[in-house]
Assembly symmetry: D2
Homo-oligomer: 342 residues x 4
């Protein structure tokens, strides 16, 4: 059986990544592509790398007939997404890739994103889409909220440790290095090749990045107390990949064992042998996440490093993984491609 | 049914690319990986991006039992390859990715590669592996010689034009821009990131590049007369991709029509609409080749541009395409993945 | 003695490059920086790499008092530049970096740039700023028109050859590879790091690039007949540098000797030994131009390759070289810094 | 007056950087270039970007006549450097760029570098070359030991804070992002463009990097107690630049004020306004170091970020700054060039 798929926001990078992945999926067919700003264009114009595929043209979202659609991916900007989703059929299965349904508390949403939430009803039913930790809820959900790509990386490194209580919850530092596609197709001077290449810098310092809302929500819920991590993202001159270097306090052996146990059956999470650390070059273009643990020379200090591709495991790959669960398909379908190296 | 595959030279880039592709192939299983210099190592050490796959460890070629192998890919350096292949079972199907069996005339081989050929018997039976033009011969072959990646790109742009006689055969210039993975994993100063990035240059100027042997052989054979193209490769700071800018003389419309007709049924060759030109970013990581035709302001001058991924369509993807034919499988099996962009 | 300098369009790349160079100049002081869109900002905000310099804040052009200014650099977009320059004091020495005064024939200007020229009077007095060939005229000029960066590169490779009549004037092909800073700070999707890096393509194919107006004007003037070169620029993933690969017909030895003779006394033009070819990585950040000559295997065909930094020798370095001449200073003042490698 | 300079190890990146800088120095002349592995070659062959300079050919170190040399830069690998320096004239002024004379305690040297020190006498007289903090000692020294490039970056961010006692000495984390030229011209697979570009990773995790010896020595000496920072370097795909993100505990305002006061008269150290953070793209190719301070959302936690060019301020620029002091010249001579951007 083949499921009919719609993608809203198909002219952005996560939209294109969804199409790349679904093109290799055995039981999904793309029936509609929505993108208001480029409506009327063929995908081969918007993304010539998809030229070989037989895809519907881009249309405005209003022009999509959702009656035959089994599942809809929303790859729209936040705020737009909640407005669009509020107007979609109430029975349509939806995987949202925006930030709009990640935070369960509307006040937290407003605090981090600056506007009151406009789809409170949908927000209530939304399930947080970190597949490995919400598998059952996702399978039963109508609306799944894809996680932030930074938030996913940090949680893969730290969730089992917070849950097991094997690290000091008051001393967690996440130093993230993020590739530029995470900023989307936005036209900003600092994203130009001439400005970005050959340089790197920290941004959103002082723990002001919006993905902190997710860390706060999830880590505090697991720990049963307030947990506030320190989180500094850096922009590096590469297109794909997040490397999260996490500084924690605990026993390196216990931390490694906890991660190994947590992920022993996971198809996409690989815990490296003790003392090894991952590289983004080894997960590029794939749905895999590599995690390493190294003890510091100072007793009781440990570095946990996680690497994933922000466009795949960090957003569109995760979204497809969730969609597979929601449709009762094999969770790994369309997602087992090997990374692209070099 | 599943075919058993061996890969010799599995610690190089084309070897790794073969494994990446075969990992997504429905009826091939990798049974042996040969690599003398890294024998004894696991592939997860040599290529951590393949860590998720269940692969045999690297062994010396002598340690491989070929009795259960259906097809062997040789991704060894030239000269080594002919020596190894001469010693392999005479009934084993082989796809060679080196330069050793591309030239049919041993004198031409010696002229371009500097040593007398050491496997003349095998050379006689080898079929030139440019799939789209030797499909029938490849399906019937025991030994197929993969083409040079530059040679493939130039031929996709020009072969139908030479065959149809629609361009001036004495005035063909190929200006190629090649990514660095084409140079392999060789340890050379000029391939270091610090030296290569942010700069570009022409090399092998004066038409001294070895792939000219293939152009001479193939174009002259098609034309029934000596054809000597002028060919200048450039090394650009990117990892994958060849862009061939071909300067020819003829009618742009006739040239475009000739290419469209030649490739109308080809699954991997896309001729763009008249006046459009391809980019390597739109074929990266895929087996597709995009070709564009543009008329110059000077009447009778035409630019034909072809783009492909040197590691995929230019070598390992081509090799798998040929292997599919040799094993009676669907030619496109394992090769339809979309390009990786961004 | 110190000359007072104004720079209009100081918030673009060529403006910033002028400031970088003048910061090391012994007898120029920057007195005014004009930039309408960012007026009111400090240069340390617009270009933090200039933070250590004591520079005037950006102001609107109307707010600049030109009475104490000895020389003004205009690094404004074309069309804007002619309007601004038409309104500047008629005695002010000006080096314009835009395209507005490069073409002597107003009809040619309109053909390539699409609008009628709005400063015909100034256009008449403007001198074409290719220093090495218009030295005397530049020294005496009030208004000098900086050349196109591609046009400069191609002319350095070919002007002496056209003048000496040692190449076939009907068979000249220029295949240029250009870094991205040549496109300026414009916000376009294809200039984003995520889109540009890791890929390359030809643009303005069919000899439609505006710099052809300069080639036509200059080569035809030298040759005393119409000369129409074929010119295809390519965008490569690097920030600085133009590599011009020129395919010509003639005697390699004669061509090499002609170039050596033409540039034997030039401080910035280096002709490499016969058979060697330049690389952009060896001129980055400098005012040097390297030129190489190689004979093709086909008798009578020759490749001439020139490399320069588009922001330095291709625009702002050239502009300063011209300003030095106009002010009676040493031509090389402020321009002898070595390239930055790696 | 002009001083005669020798550079040993002139075929590596720091050697080439010294030549680039000295080429713009008003009172130094390069009289000898030593490089055993490339002895006999011209610098234009080894580093074509220096082609325009009139430089002596490379010779073996034994072939250099040091009698007329005023100062010698040693840019040799560690271990080799101490052996060579032990044999140089005892009165020759020397700036060493290797690791050999950075650690005052021979046992510490042996612990971090694995071999007993072979020039104990010279080690005793060596002065640690962090100019801003050892100015007087350097001016009087015969032998100055250039610092590690990572060590310099971290110390610029933290030394004044350790000295003033405004941060918790037991809770210092340095997360460094380093460009690839810091690894030198070594031929290693992971430094190839195809492997390094588009990916990033942490290395020497667990605080095992050799530059920790310098941090331990210097911070402990200032604090008057043992200080052990946690230090994790990362390799990022760029050629120049170190970004040190330092996680400390204290008052952001006090930290910022301490740094501002410490560096208020320094020509090369720029403390950014409170809340701003530096980028490596804004110091590339220059001798400047930019430092920023940002308060974290969690009270009492602060991020200090420092950026410098590893080849300039991190090694060869620092070396020249020290040489200027040793020769009684203006400290900033030859070092005030603006950064190269873009």
């Amino acid at each position: 059986m083949t499921y009919n798929i719609a993608i809203l926001g198909a002219s952005g990078y996560t939209g294109a990544e969804l199409i790349r992945l679904i093109a290799g999926h055995s039981s999904m067919t793309i029936k509609a592509l929505g993108g208001n700003s480029k409506a009327g264009q063929q995908m081969s114009e918007v993304f010539p790398h998809l030229r070989h595929l037989d895809l519907p043209a881009l249309v405005t979202i209003d022009d999509i007939d959702f009656s035959g659609i089994d599942l809809c991916f929303c790859a729209l900007p936040h705020k737009t997404s909640q407005e669009v989703i509020a107007a979609l059929p109430k029975t349509l299965k939806i995987v949202d890739l925006s930030a709009d349904f990640r935070l369960r508390d509307p006040a937290e949403y407003e605090k981090w994103y600056g506007n009151p939430h406009a789809a409170l009803e949908q927000q209530k039913e939304a399930v947080y889409g970190l597949t490995e930790f919400y598998r059952k809820e996702i399978a039963a959900a109508r609306l799944v909220a894809g996680t932030g790509c930074n938030a996913a990386t940090g949680q893969f490194a730290l969730r089992p440790l917070v849950a097991a209580g094997v690290i000091d919850l008051d001393e967690i530092i996440l130093d993230l290095k993020c590739a530029v596609s995470g900023a989307g197709r936005a036209l900003k001077e600092n994203l130009l090749h001439a400005e970005l290449s050959e340089g790197y810098h920290a941004y959103a310092l002082g723990s002001t990045h919006r993905h902190l809302g997710e860390f706060d929500q999830e880590f505090s819920a697991i720990a049963g107390r307030t947990v506030q991590v320190q989180f500094t993202p850096h922009l590096v001159p590469a297109n794909r990949g997040i490397l999260a270097t996490c500084y924690v306090k605990g026993s390196a052996d216990e931390i490694h064992a906890t991660l190994q146990k947590a992920y022993s059956d996971e198809p996409f999470i690989e815990v490296l042998p003790m003392g090894e650390a991952p590289s983004t070059r080894h997960i590029r273009g794939s749905n895999f996440c590599h995690i390493g643990v190294v003890a510091d020379r100072v007793e009781g200090r440990v570095i946990v490093v996680a690497a994933l591709d922000n466009l795949t495991k960090g957003s569109s790959g995760q979204a497809l993984q969730n969609a597979n669960l929601m449709l009762g398909l094999e969770e790994t379908e369309g997602l087992m491609m090997a990374p692209l190296f070099p």
